[in-house]
Amino acid sequence: MRRAELSMAIVLAILSVYLMWKSAELPIGWVKGDGPGGGAFPFWLSLVMLVCSIWTIVRWFRRTTPQSRSTEPYFDSQSLSLIILVVGALVLMVGSIHFIGVYGAIPLFFVFYMRFIGRQTWTKTLVLAVAAPVFTFFFFEILLHITLPKGATETLFYPLYDIFM
């Protein structure tokens, strides 16, 4: 926890400096007739971020925050592997939307998550893996008219569009 607190503060401090530098690409001072320049608002706020991060680092050295005194691990190994598994599954799902579309990715995600992480029965898994995309289709595409990305499966939906839209 101690190491995580310091690492996070340092990473956020670097991010602040980066944001300050990027904000400074626009005028950050007073532009005659226009008031404060376009970069001023994010620049000064990034400076506030930097000050806060340094403040946290100082507090870490003085051991004032509870995290900087804690001896507990930031992650224990069991939850770390679970979180990595879940985040990995999410990244794979969002990534696969680009190729097989929402209606390909959702069922696969359900099967993986419920069957292999959650250890649910195959019946429950399959019911949801089918019901979720069907509900999504009717609620978002038909009722709300939001076209979701379909990737390579786009052509399969033409008959459905003809029926419902």
Binding site: F41, L45, S53
Partner: protein, 508 residues
């Protein structure tokens, strides 16, 4: 008594069979949209606006206003049951609603939210009806410095009353505001912070992307870790008796509800400072004036009642400047205003003279919408509790999928889905280190207005910060805000002095 006559005429319009039907459907749809993480009243109203072109303008606005109303009730449902605000307006409802649900008192929190919403809505509609013209006149005198001062007050409540680590809270506010600045600069139109011209950043970072990331993805990751994949499902019993018990308990919260309604209504009135800061301020004030402020955040019924009465009151309040001045009081009313133009109406004070049926039909429909929202809301409680009783390994993927589809829906850009995932994971890692997330989400919502009001104020004053102090209305607001910012420092000094005088020595 002219107002009463107008109102009665309005009820005749609102109670026409088709309009009544639209109110009921609107409330039900609004409740579900509000309850879904990621979709709030703005999305619901924006998406369903084209559907209303098949009915006359009066029916159309009655339907959309009912959705707005229903969504304000619905937002509380996911705040309480999932700990994910259904909309930004329900962020403050999670603070105490979630702890109550975890203690197994979800039904209490839900009933409290519904009743507070009803009270807030009703009180504010009565205020709306009675004081529309004079109040609009007051709000008219609010300029950019007043708006900015009000926003500083909202942020000040986090510093002074949030109780979290101060540098981390301040960091959270600042990064939220910086994220709101991403995209095209409002005044010069130049792109800024687009990180090497990534096209997805040109339209800015939608607050929903951050909100769903943090409160959807991040929250579930948090829950997975703390429960190792299985949530200890809190027992939530609903029965008529428990509902009645809660109602009896809520009598004690009456003061909080009235206060929340008034704060919500007046904050909602101001152009563009709507239900979100209103509900957060109501929460902050309720906590400050409470005899037992430490119980807030741990499951205090007042902590649910205050923001919920305020956000419903604010949604009514925000319609007042929209109707009387033609200035939207919230993003949702901005869309309603756009709709009015499409329907061929000219927004502004002349509506009250030329379109009395439209104006008073809408006002009367708000009374009706309130009634149906509370009835539907309480009737649907068993359905929402059934949702929570599902094993977490079923609920988690459902919420993940909802988050991803909900994150895609507002901008229809895969870039935002990736960003949401990133925010979710990073936000979760930061939250583990006690970085508060609510100020960040509030900041990204208020950011654009904060920046434009600041820049306009400074432009008016030629760069002098005194503009915020000198004006009669912004001065006191700014004063209170600054007081909130230095409040923790004063407290620290005071306790240090007290320790020294007690002879226990310095801090070591």
């Amino acid at each position: 008594m002219e107002i009463i006559q107008h109102l009665l005429d309005g009820f005749l319009v609102a109670l026409e069979p088709m309009n009544l039907f639209l109110v009921i459907i609107g409330c039900a749809v609004g409740l579900f949209i509000g309850a879904m993480p990621g979709l709030g009243s703005v999305n619901g109203v924006a998406i369903l606006l084209p559907v209303t072109f098949i009915v006359p303008p009066t029916s159309a606005i009655i339907f959309l206003a009912a959705i707005y109303y229903g969504a304000m009730y619905g937002g509380a449902i996911s705040s309480i049951m999932l700990g994910i605000p259904g909309a930004s307006t329900a962020v403050a409802t999670t603070f105490d609603g979630r702890p109550l649900a975890l203690k197994g008192m979800a039904d209490k929190a839900l009933v409290a939210a519904a009743v507070a919403s009803f009270a807030g809505g009703t009180i504010s509609v009565i205020l709306f009806t009675a004081f529309a013209p004079p109040l609009a006149h007051v709000a008219l005198s609010f300029g950019a410095p007043e708006e900015f001062a009000l926003m500083m007050l909202a942020f000040g409540t986090f510093i002074g009353l949030g109780g979290d680590d101060i540098p981390k809270t301040l960091f959270s506010i600042a990064i939220g505001l910086v994220m709101s600045a991403v995209g095209l600069d409002i005044l010069s139109g130049e792109p800024r912070l687009v990180f090497g011209d990534i096209p997805g950043f040109f339209h800015g970072i939608n607050f929903l992307v951050l909100a769903i990331g943090i409160y959807g993805i991040g929250e579930i990751l948090w829950t997975i870790e703390s429960s190792r994949g299985e949530v200890a499902v809190s027992q939530a019993v609903v029965s008529v008796r428990r509902v009645l018990d809660t109602l009896r308990e809520l009598v004690k919260s009456l003061k909080t509800i009235i206060m929340g309604s008034l704060i919500g209504f007046f904050v909602g009135l101001l152009p563009a400072a709507g239900a979100t800061p209103g509900s957060i301020m109501a929460y902050g004030v309720a906590k400050t004036v409470s005899r037992d402020p430490d119980s807030y955040g741990k499951g205090n019924l007042d902590g649910v009642a205050a923001p919920e009465s305020a956000n419903n009151a604010a949604s009514t309040g925000s319609m007042l400047p929209m109707l009387t001045l033609g200035i939207p009081g919230s993003p949702t009313t901005a869309i309603l205003l756009g709709g009015m133009v499409i329907w061929g109406l000219e927004p502004g004070p002349r509506l009250f003279v030329e379109q009395t049926e439209f104006v008073w039909g809408l006002i009367a429909s708000l009374y009706v919408a309130n009634l149906f929202s509370i009835l539907l809301n309480i009737a649907f409680i068993p359905i929402f509790i059934w949702v929570l009783k599902l094993p977490f390994s079923i609920l988690a993927p459902v919420i993940f999928v909802l988050c991803i589809v909900g994150g895609y829906a507002p901008t229809q850009d895969m870039h935002d889905v990736w960003l949401m995932l990133l925010f979710g994971v990073v936000g979760y890692l930061m939250r583990k280190l006690d970085y508060p997330m609510a100020p960040m989400v509030l900041a990204i919502v208020l950011g654009p207005l904060a920046e434009s009001s600041l820049r306009q104020s400074l432009l008016q004053s030629h760069g002098s910060m005194m503009v915020f102090i000198e004006r009669p209305i912004s001065g006191p607001i700014m004063g209170i805000a600054l007081l909130l910012f230095v409040f923790p420092a004063l407290k620290a000094v005071k306790s240090a002095v007290a320790r020294r005088s007690a002879g226990t020595g310095g801090e070591k």
